[in-house]
Symmetry: C2
Subunit: 628 residues, 2 copies
């Protein structure tokens, strides 16, 4: 099979209820409120290079670092998220806000093309002297992603031109040529951005620069150490003490364990997968596959969250997946969606689709509140009611990561090549693709993720030969398929069922993916989950929340043999809840230790999708329910 | 009933196998090796006030503090432990070592009686300026406890005289009189020591000083804040940030929650209980009871360990009892034994005896290796095999706390008043007490803690009227009792069965305490123990250890209905193990998450007493076994 490519988000329209609700919330509430926050926090003002520089808004840590150094990236991510949203509904106010930002960036850009508002304003003499800590290329990457998205939605090139000039400057600085710095960013990001640019413009120089950054990473002598010495610092004197933190401890092709800061890891691996596919690089593909397996076998939460530890915002040891203290940063789950999608384009295997779906519907989506203006940075899988959603954060990375994912989700649902259209996710889309040489309108309707009955209509302008690939999720047993009313056996190869035929206007495909409420067990070395089960139905991981029970949910016990039912519920505008007869400890005094169980009372257990927790006030929550 | 008093350790001889083995190990291995370590670490040399002061052996923390400041206490505790041991078997070498230390202390003591080798050597101008951090009175307390014990064993007063001179100095410094400091120690300890002195000498001034320290604690204005201001420091600038850490956040009679550093808390509460009994103070008794209930209902490990957190070596929130990261410092369990014993003397209630027994046989005893030269500072209830016993520690407090407890355990087994002898623990003792006015020899023999059949013979010089109180442990159902072969109904009042009669020489009491292997459940809010059980038989909490299984013990599952058997085992010279048919995950690859259990194989589970873990090399360990 020829490799498939992502379908530009602008070419896919969301029509289903599930994503329409999220998308409209992002359009109506999230994007405007984020712009207001960028204004309020003076992040937008910082683009206008105020002189003298105002006092820092975000105090420096003890190590001298202020997260304010990556404010440019917040602006880039907001433009990106807004651009995806605008593809669904143009909005003059938002576009004017973007244009105003572009005015500021154009004015800020140095004559030599350099564009980083922190350095230009506060320490112009120190450009490119601390790639390890200061996010200089990361900022460029996020601005570039914003420029690409804005161009794709509006056709307006002005920001893209600014960024291409900046890239010319960067290209001059970095590389293996004489006088160039052999550096790369402490926080991978620009690599993915360059590949997006390449996909839109076909500019091979963008691909080459991304390859350079990936190939150079972790080379000896270690660049960050050299760079520290060059600025008179002790290379060992940095907060995280290990270059594993930024995945620059060894060349990427030698890396076999997922380590360090989770978001950095996912961004890097996503770029590696992209490059492996675009440059047909088997050594890079192999590295991606080894790292993928390591993550899947030992380091990912059942929600698709990842990175258990707050101290490095990242990975620790195998099977260390605590629930209450899970960091599982929203950005990391969003970034796992990025990586999984790129693995699909490297090797169309449903296991990548399964993980993309899990991370999207659970670990990522949980980061945005129902009303579109509240966020989680860390995503515990158990709560005593203490964590609350917040409306902004000193490090607001997650806010715009989740909004840009939701606003661009259409681009994750299908992929295409000349003769193939692959469905990874379902939930209601319309797209017109050239398949088998013929412009073909494809419509998919379903109540996914709450229902697995999926209807697809195929309308080629003229009869056309091509293949429709339908992902049969790993969670699904007993999928069935009909084409124009006739049963077709489901033969899934690597998780995808292929329908290859001459398609006619009006052809109808009906895919049924039975969704059964199931108990998930964890590997025994995930010791905190021993004797517990997570509840899943279809793509959704569920949780029990105090709002549906008259006690802390830690008091609940789910008998091993209690049946689970899926129930249509009016909650949250209509969702499927899972219910089961269960037991709970009484309200009386319970000793700290006891031989015989105190009286337990029968109680119904109600589970809601995990992504919806913490939208009904403070209260306890539990993903892994004790089974006794 | 009149209140009972502790029986001096010198008056009780250990005759049973269990404690004889531990005692001989302490005598033969622990005490000598600890002396060698005190020498090697230059702790003994520091008593000789070297001038100029040598460089610090233990580097200062970032906060300027070095644990070397309490080296005097290590010396005091070693003398105390050695003195207890010498009561069982005099040893000229050890006695000479103690005398040499006393020579040094005598030479070091200032003309005004002051005696703290850190301050005398390093900062003589700063005496009594930082009671919050620098353990000055704590050191005095431990030296005093050593002096009292050495006097009790040998009758030699020289160290006691030195310490009484030092106490005169301290008495001049501290109190509510004009010109006195209204201070008390950041680390309670001297209070208990003063009460021990009072019990031996009857000196009311010692009791009064202990009362002063307890009563003044937490008064407003906060002494440590005043003291910090007086030395020009910011009172808020200290590591722990809260006076809860040292239980000086409010007057002790107002304290209702167990907070802060666990050892400090236990030492304070032990002194409070002592004083409540000795001064008949109902408000102090009430505070003790409220704090006891708080600890028992929400904060103690099933092993009698306490203080889950390393960051404050102490308490956190209710029900926070993690297993793998349990701090549960050995010293804290030792100190809980102290407190529980003192609660018994305040109010003879078996619940205090139950906890004293649990903390002794489990949370405290685990701190000393089988060979008597290895230690645990922190005592996790689950291990992946990483923690090892160590042979010394920068802060060696636990080493001599566990040895002094083992060497003095005879003193915890019985209490007495004029007309009552109470057995709290069993395991083989001989003692002669004056009961009902008659010198009465009492011998108890048993294989406790492995067997509950207890034989007691009573030999009064002439027939005598008195009461024998026998603790019927809370874990025991179906106790039975015979006197001279005749059944006597067991009527336990507050956990003690009373036998009041005219005793004759040769009277025999047979107490049978059936020991059944049981599963213990934890309160549901101890979330990490949901779906898990701890195994207990009699006083012993058990654990499963990798040495008895061919896989990490985290792979084991104990079916809820599997029978537990108690088996005599040759391990460790003869112990009772618990065994059960169980299941384990196979050696094949197990996915991180799965719906249907991978194949599990039947396997026998073998549990050993928790106190014996980590004596057979590195390996995983688990107290709370998953039940599915």
């Amino acid at each position: 099979m020829t490799r498939l490519s992502p379908v530009p988000f602008v070419d896919v329209r969301l029509t289903g209820d599930f994503w329409s609700e999220r998308l409209n919330t992002v359009l109506d509430r999230t994007i405007p409120s984020q712009h207001a926050k960028l204004e309020e926090m003076t992040i937008l003002a910082s683009l206008r290079l105020p002189q003298p520089p105002p006092p820092l808004v975000i105090k420096r840590h003890a190590n001298g670092f202020s997260v304010q150094v990556f404010w440019d990236s917040d602006v880039g991510k907001w433009i990106e998220a807004a651009s995806y949203a605008l593809a669904h509904r143009r909005d003059a106010t938002i576009e004017a806000q973007i244009e105003a930002i572009i005015d500021d960036l154009a004015a800020a850009q140095a004559p030599d093309g350099y564009l980083n508002c922190w350095y230009l304003c506060r320490e112009p003499e120190n450009r490119w002297t601390n790639l390890r800590d200061n996010h200089e290329l990361y900022n460029a990457g996020h601005l570039l992603e914003g420029a690409v998205a804005y161009f794709q939605t509006t056709g307006r090139r002005r920001l893209l031109d600014i960024m291409e000039r900046y890239l010319e400057h960067i290209r001059g600085q970095f590389g293996t040529g004489p006088g160039q710095r052999r550096g790369y960013c402490g926080h991978p990001e620009i690599e993915m951005a360059l590949i997006k640019l390449y996909r839109v413009t076909g500019d091979a120089k963008a691909l080459a620069l991304a390859s350079y950054f990936v190939d150079e990473r972790g080379a000896s002598p270690q660049y960050f150490d050299e760079e520290a010495r060059a600025r008179g610092a002790d290379p060992a004197d940095f907060t995280q003490k290990t270059h594993e933190y930024s995945q620059s401890h060894m060349p990427v092709r030698q890396q076999t364990k997922v380590v360090g800061h989770a978001v950095r890891a996912m961004y890097l691996y996503a770029a590696m997968a992209d490059l492996a596919a675009l440059t047909d690089d088997p050594s890079l593909q192999s590295a991606c596959e080894v790292l993928w397996d390591d993550l899947m076998l030992t380091k990912v939460y059942v929600t698709g969250g990842l990175g258990p530890s707050a101290s490095n915002e990242g990975f620790t040891r195998d099977y260390d997946l605590p629930n209450a203290t899970a960091y599982a940063e929203t950005c990391a789950a969003v970034a796992l969606v990025f990586w999984a999608q790129r693995m699909l384009h490297l090797d169309m295997d449903g296991r990548y689709g399964d993980m993309m779906e899990t991370a999207l519907f659970n670990g990522a989506l949980v980061g945005l509140s129902r009303d579109g203006t509240g966020y989680f940075y860390a995503n515990p899988l158990e709560s005593d009611g203490t964590p609350h959603r917040w409306h902004w954060h000193d490090c607001p990375c997650c806010t715009m990561n989740v909004s840009r994912l939701v606003a661009s989700v259409a681009g994750y649902m299908v992929s295409a090549s000349d003769d193939t259209l692959a469905f990874h996710l379902y939930g209601g889309i319309e797209t017109t693709q050239t398949l088998g040489g013929v412009a073909t309108r494809v419509r998919e309707t379903s109540r996914y993720p709450f229902d697995g009955d999926i209807a697809i209509t195929i309308d080629p302008a003229t009869p056309a030969d091509f293949t429709l690939l339908l992902r049969i999720p790993g969670w699904c047993d007993g999928a069935s398929l009909r084409v124009n009313g006739a049963d077709v056996p489901v033969v899934a190869h690597n998780g995808y069922a292929a329908l290859t035929r001459r398609w006619q206007a009006g052809d109808r495909v009906a895919l049924s993916l039975p969704m059964v409420a199931e108990r998930i067990h964890a590997h025994p070395l995930v010791t905190n989950n021993a004797g517990r089960v997570a509840l899943r139905r279809g793509p959704l991981v569920y949780c029990v929340e105090e709002a549906d029970h008259d006690a802390p949910v830690q008091m609940l016990r789910l008998p091993p043999d209690a049946p689970l039912s899926a129930t249509q519920s009016p909650l949250f505008g209509g969702i499927v809840t899972l219910t089961s007869p269960a037991r709970r400890y009484g309200n009386g005094s319970i000793p700290l230790y006891f031989v015989k169980d105190p009286d337990m009372t029968a109680t119904p257990l109600t589970a809601i999708p995990y992504y919806l927790w913490a939208n009904r006030g403070a209260g306890s929550m539990l993903v892994w329910v004790p089974e006794t």
